[in-house]
């Protein structure tokens, strides 16, 4: 092999962008005289489904650990809730004065902060009851580009616009069929990581999942402007808002019954799209349409009020961000009690730190953790019962509803993503399943890549 061609094929950039390093076979199938579908079969060590908050970290971890890794994402960019959803404040990485979530997630966040000349909050000063003080604000679009670059540098083969249609397990390998624009793909992998947030891959693979009768509302992030808040007659606005609600032209749940909050936040994390569900294209379409319709309706109303005549929409995210859908039925279910007492398990692989944060039709009242409490994530809660070579990361973690309302936050999902991928890497190396990897090796691998693993006292 010539050195230059070797460089082209082994170099990080070509490996990440091209499918050639993964390609087993490829053919084209004519649909009619004018259109052909490309059919590919790819083989990889690890397949990550879902390029959101957890999936990106998982893919980078797997790639940096030297595994051939493919990342499938149904959208057009990575980052999910942080980027496409616009919730660009990825939770809390520091608790009680020390860093509890580090590794790849923090690396990406920190680089986005530095490149945007943003300032970090002082984590040494306690946030008290106001936990957003320790939130790090990101430039979402910059973050999306940075994480894509990191994936490519880690040799991760990214496949945008693809979604799984069938998942089967045979001869210690998963075969995942996906459909995308103008192509169908069959991806054969040894280890599968479900980072869809909805436990989609898990359920497609045939494992049971759980869902509450009522789930938390989603949020459509937007920005409005064109008015001076200090010149507004807030009593009048509230009065008129309640009149519209009584008439039925506005819905009080859409903005937490807080029209002043809409104006004050200028659209930042104030919308509530009741019943928002991202599990099917139909349900997510509905969530998007509902979110946009309520925003349009509300803006039309506001523009009729004094000093708001020139109110305008400056930006709206592409989709409604979703808080809660399905959770896996894992080997262990993290309970609220575990969470609020900061229980450390023998197989804890990462920390999580956030108040119990259940949004409902009345809004949200966060329940803060007692001083010194830092909850943890056991490996068993990431593994669906009776599965092999399958692990999840992100908000679909096996947990009760209240624990999940805190575990779902992005920083925690990043920690889970790194841990899940490390377990998958070792499972591939040892020819086993994530739950059976030697824990000391798992801890060592996570830590060697900068992650923080909780330890029993």
């Amino acid at each position: 092999m010539k050195r230059r061609s070797a460089l082209a094929s082994l170099g990080s950039i070509s490996l990440g962008v091209s499918s050639k390093g993964f390609l087993v076979k490829e053919k084209e199938e004519a649909v009619n005289d004018f259109y052909k579908i490309k059919k590919q079969t790819l083989k990889t060590d690890i397949l990550v489904i879902g390029g959101g908050t957890a999936g990106v970290i998982a893919a980078i971890q797997a790639g940096r650990a030297g595994k051939k890794t493919i990342l499938v994402e149904y959208g057009s960019q990575l980052g999910g809730t942080t980027t496409t959803g616009g919730v660009a404040f990825p939770g809390i990485f520091f608790a009680w004065g020390k860093q509890v979530i580090s590794g790849i997630g923090w690396e990406l966040v920190q680089e986005a902060v530095a490149m945007n000349d943003d300032t970090l909050p002082n984590f040494s000063i306690p946030h008290g009851k106001n936990h957003p003080r320790h939130q790090v604000r990101l430039n979402g679009q910059l973050y999306a580009m940075l994480i894509e670059e990191k994936c490519v540098q880690a040799g991760v083969h990214i496949r945008f616009y693809e979604t799984p249609t069938k998942i089967t397990f045979k001869n210690n390998s998963w075969t995942v069929e996906t459909m995308g624009k103008g192509m169908t793909t069959e991806i054969v992998c040894n280890q599968l990581i479900d980072c869809t947030g909805n436990a989609f891959a898990t359920t497609l693979a045939g494992y049971p999942i759980l869902r509450e009768t009522v789930t938390q509302p989603g949020s459509l992030m937007f920005e409005i402007g064109g008015y001076d808040f200090e010149k507004l007659d807030l009593n009048l606005i509230k009065e008129k808002y309640q009149e519209e609600i009584k008439k039925g032209t506005l819905d009080k749940y859409e903005f937490r019954n807080n029209i002043i909050g809409v104006l004050k936040s200028r659209g930042d994390n104030i919308s509530h799209v009741m019943g928002a569900d991202s599990t099917t294209s139909e349900s997510h379409t509905l969530a998007n349409i509902k979110g946009r319709a309520s925003l349009l309706n509300t803006v039309r109303f506001l523009r009729t009020l004094p000093n708001l005549e020139k109110l305008k929409i400056i930006d709206v995210q592409n989709e409604t961000a979703v808080r809660e859908t399905y959770r896996i039925n894992g080997h262990y279910e993290v309970t609220q009690e575990d969470y609020v007492t900061g229980k450390v398990f023998e197989d804890s692989v990462s920390y999580s730190y956030y108040p119990i944060d259940l949004h409902d039709e009345h809004g949200i009242v966060p329940r803060h953790l007692n001083e010194g409490v830092i909850p943890t994530v056991p490996l068993r809660s990431l593994v669906p019962k009776n599965s092999r070579n399958l692990i999840v990361a992100g908000r679909c973690i096996s947990s009760d509803r209240l624990a999940n309302s805190a575990l779902r936050v992005q920083a925690s999902c990043m920690g889970m993503g790194q841990a899940a991928a490390a377990a998958a890497v070792l499972a591939h190396t040892h020819g086993t399943t994530p739950l059976e990897v030697p824990f000391s090796e798992l801890k060592s691998l996570i830590e060697s890549h900068g992650g923080i693993v909780p330890g029993l006292a």
């Binding site: 170099g11 050639k20 200090e230 002043i260 890549h449 900068g450």
Partner: protein, 374 residues
Amino acid sequence: MGLLVLSGYYSSDSIRYAHAPTLSLPVDSTLYFIVDFKDDISNDTLVQTRSQEGYPISYSRSIRTGVCFDNKCRPLDITLRWNLTGRYLGFELPEKEFLSKYDHDPFSEAEYQRLHAILTDSLSPLANFHYNEIVPKADSTYEKVDAVSGATSASVLEHVVEGAAFTTYKLWHLVYGPARQQVEALTSRALTPELIQLVLNSTHPSDKIWALNHIDGYVKPTPALQKVVVSFISDQDYNLTERALNSINSNDLQSGALQSILVQKIFETKYSTQKLLLTKLKAVPKLHKEAYSLLNQNLTKLNGQLIAEILQLFIQYQISDVETYRSVSALLASPNAFVSGKAYAFLTRADPQDVVVKERLTVYEEKHKGKAIE
């Protein structure tokens, strides 16, 4: 800004709440600065106390304004104090003066303490409240109207002294408004490496951050100051580490000794700190041999991503000696394909002629024959 120097005077027989200033030095002189505070309060003087060494110790501003309720007005007569770093220190009332609420009741001891605590909190949500939320009814006189408790929303009441919402709000914004910026600007004019060192000794985290933010572009660091700054780079406190590294500019980084200290710290710290250190090394004007030799000798101790970044550093600084090529070529045998791939890409780009390196490359290529599809 005008200036008048007078000797210091301090009344002690009054209601007074105060935190200790960072510098516990005796007041030697008092300076008066005429400042545009960009508000409607008539007093435009910012008072600075100084030590014998000429270090600013604290600042104060006397406020006289009106707060009205039930169609009756009371003057608000209070002196606010700041640390040399702009941190709120406390307040003092003139003799026999007291603060009162909307019902004319004087503040209780607990209410004074609550006010002091609220004013101490630089991150209070009051920063994001607007006048018209404190006094919901829009009115041309609202700026001088204290909040009637019934009309003040629950979200505001959580952050104010009940019955004195507007007083609390007004004072908080006076503490953290233009006066604070003026305080910082005046201290910045008096900064020396020695003063920065004293502030870095503060037990208050925000003072340390302030000092680290006021090195680059403000003072030329002495070896003693640099030593203190470098001592903050550790896994103990991420903010201090990040700010300490930020305070080191490219001029300082010309020093081979400083570069070596930073490199040494890479091998003593954890990932978050290691990443910051490597980012700093990307800003050095030239990477000294002792620094990159140290990196070479310890490459295998690092994870793949850090190795990849160090290889980028070598490319950036055109490091092309045999020692470097040999230490990188040792990575070709790494069981981690990511690491060996990065080493291979680096060496292929450099195309070294060293026999040992070429041999290792040949072994690597033989091992990977047929795996690359191009």
